[in-house]
Symmetry: C2
Subunit: 97 residues, 2 copies
């Protein structure tokens, strides 16, 4: 991956926080809100983008009649994140060389 083709998705702190939160497993809207300390509006907007870009998916269920949303990273999301980190590692190494 070239830095010039870096996906837009990584250019935002909140989106990176969400990715970071979900990499260890699925989380609900409320859990993400606590973890990222974001407002509902902003979190909702960034989750929508992440979903549109195919980085996360969302499962909505009712558990004992309570709504239970569950956000998780997709395979695409994980592999693109890996690629991004590897690209940055390469940049760093190009200095050491």
């Amino acid at each position: 991956m070239e830095i010039s083709s870096m996906p837009e998705v990584f250019g935002n702190k909140l989106r990176l926080s969400v990715i970071s939160a979900l990499i260890t497993g699925e989380k609900s809207f409320s859990e993400l809100k606590k973890y990222t300390d974001a407002t509902s509006g902003n979190l909702g907007a960034q989750l929508l983008k992440l979903e549109e870009w195919g980085y996360i998916s969302c499962k909505k269920e009712f558990v004992s009649k309570k709504p239970q949303s569950s956000y998780m990273l997709t395979e695409t999301g994980i592999s693109n994140f890996k690629e991004y980190v590897e690209m940055l590692e390469k940049v760093l190494k190009s200095m050491e060389a």
Copy 2:
């Protein structure tokens, strides 16, 4: 470094491109312009921010009566970039665990 305290500087593709270009050595305004394919206005604005945040420094000289600008990463810039990459590596590893 916590992802929540990720510096704003890394949240922009052009700024990351500039850092990536300078990590192998100093470059002029024109060289950065070619490398990043940015417009003058945008490049100028982002260079100013990078300088204000202490990530780059600029040396201006006249070499055989031609202006010769020379942008380079500061120690702070390099170490903060390292920290950023290392933070992302940790996030990735937390998944593999």
